[in-house]
């Protein structure tokens, strides 16, 4: 457990000094929001409510994608990947450490981009913001979990930053679908109606199940992926 924190700490320390990844991710997320504003809004009008979840999740997925390329690639470019793999920590600890870092980065992006999203698009919510928190949590955790795993898988291939999105997004579809639907319920559905509340919980459960399945699989299979 301590070892996982050391790996997270190592990556956070690098990030604190350079601020490369998070800076790029946050800026990119804001630009995606602006592009959405140009494509879907007419000045003075509100964003059609059914588009809200799509805007949020596409932004999160794009920004997250940007960060994923940086999970293992710098280690390879700096020739530290072999050292990391040979270090006296289990490969699952390396994996979980990298997931932790990416999760924190993406969370930071969400914390900055979401309030701006409310301001830019003039949004009013039906449900409480508190209901949005678990959706974002499971969505981000699943994205980081599967994303970092496939990033480790693609780091040994040529032009891996091309490969990663193509192999990641088809697998992510259930998670993104769950995220979009649950977010839509939080924003637009009436919370007095038990049918919608039930639907919210079942989408959330789907996301949790997705996370559990792929975290388990990743921990089982990571030994085959991270080899010298």
């Amino acid at each position: 457990m301590r070892k996982i924190f050391w790996i997270i700490w190592k990556d956070l320390a690098i990030e604190l000094r350079s601020r490369e990844v998070t800076g790029a991710m946050v800026l990119f997320a804001l630009m995606v929001l602006v592009i959405f504003a140009f494509s879907f809004l007419r000045p003075g009008e509100k964003l059609p409510p059914e588009m809200i979840p799509g805007v949020i999740w596409v932004t999160v997925a794009f920004a997250g994608m940007l960060g994923l390329n940086h999970a293992f690639l710098p280690e390879k470019q700096n020739d530290t990947l072999t050292g990391l793999i040979l270090a006296p920590v289990s490969k699952s600890a390396i994996y979980l450490g990298k997931v932790g870092t990416h999760f924190l980065f993406l969370l930071l992006v969400e914390i900055i981009a979401l309030p701006l999203f409310f301001i830019f698009f003039n949004i009013q919510m039906q449900g409480s913001v508190l209901y949005l928190v678990p959706v974002l949590f499971f969505g981000t955790a699943g994205f980081s979990g599967l994303g970092v795993f496939l990033s480790a898988l693609s780091v040994h291939t040529k032009s891996n930053e091309l490969l990663l999105p193509v192999i990641l997004f088809p697998l992510l579809i259930p998670l993104l679908l769950g995220g979009v639907k649950a977010t839509g319920i939080v924003f637009n559905a009436s919370w007095a109606d038990p049918v919608w509340v039930g639907a919210y919980w079942s989408w959330l459960r789907l996301m949790a199940v997705f996370d559990i399945i792929f975290f388990t699989l990743s921990l089982v299979l990571i030994d085959y992926v991270l080899e010298v």
Binding site: L146, F149, L150, L153, S154, H156, T157, K158, S159, N160, L162, L163, V166, I167, F169, P170, L171, I173, P174, L177, G178, K181, A199, S202, W203, L206, V209, F210, I213, F214, L217, S218, L221, Y224, V225, E227
Partner: protein, 232 residues
């Protein structure tokens, strides 16, 4: 040298059997089975559609099983079977995605609807292509086999989750059409079963061929390597 796939006698029998079954299958579909009352002639594409769809999903199951076997044993024989099955599966999934809309246009009057089975087939196709890309992007053979095996496993496990999530999605947005309410004639059911069986045979025939091609390719690479060593 071990005889893998295409050279053996049983494989020849399999080829002949596939050929015969396909002929019978075509006869049943185009001449024997009665036409559907409402849809007419177009409905016959259904036998090809279901047969190929079954093979597409079955092939991915084979990828899954042999990927696990490869990771357990590191025997390249299993990797050849898994990757051959993935390539055949891609072809069959493509056929499903082409025949599906043709049938949908005539029976549902739309080329595409986000119905669970359709959507799952599409995602399956993406995952297959991703699998092939992983193999294409990996540099050395060992990595290629290992990484694609890992991807074959998680890809296969993803498919049912995709199916269920899309089904929930279509419940919350009720679909206009349901494909499940179709009642099949005994004759139609028989034709369908024969069709599924002959496509399965065809799949195994292709698999044997492809595996032996891969085998020859691996041997050729080995000979080239030895030759280089010898010359260098």
């Amino acid at each position: 040298m071990e005889k893998e796939g295409a050279k053996s006698k049983t494989f020849g029998i399999l080829g002949a059997l596939t050929f015969l079954m396909m002929l019978v299958n075509l006869y049943l579909i185009f001449i024997w089975v009665p036409e559907e009352k409402i849809l007419g002639l177009v409905q016959k594409i259904f036998y090809f559609h279901v047969g190929t769809a079954w093979v597409a999903f079955f092939a991915f199951f084979v990828v899954f099983i042999y990927s696990i076997l490869y990771l357990k044993t590191k025997d390249s024989k299993w990797d050849r079977i898994a990757s051959a099955s993935a390539e055949i599966g891609t072809v069959f999934t493509t056929i499903v995605l082409i025949t599906g809309p043709i049938w949908a246009k005539s029976s549902w009057n739309t080329w595409w609807t986000w119905e669970p089975r359709l959507t799952t087939s599409l995602i399956l196709w993406f995952i297959y292509l991703a699998y092939i890309l992983v193999r294409g992007f990996a540099t050395e053979y060992q990595k290629k086999a290992q990484l694609s095996a890992v991807f074959g496993i998680i890809g296969f496990i993803d498919v049912p989750i995709v199916f269920f999530s899309v089904r929930w999605w279509s419940i919350s947005h009720p679909t206009l059409f349901s494909g499940s309410g179709m009642n099949l004639d005994p004759e139609m059911l028989f034709t369908l079963l024969v069709s599924v069986a002959s496509f399965t045979l065809l799949y195994f025939y292709f698999l044997g061929k492809l595996v032996s091609i891969f085998h020859v390719r691996a041997e050729l690479a080995e000979i080239k390597r030895r030759l280089k060593e010898h010359l260098g």
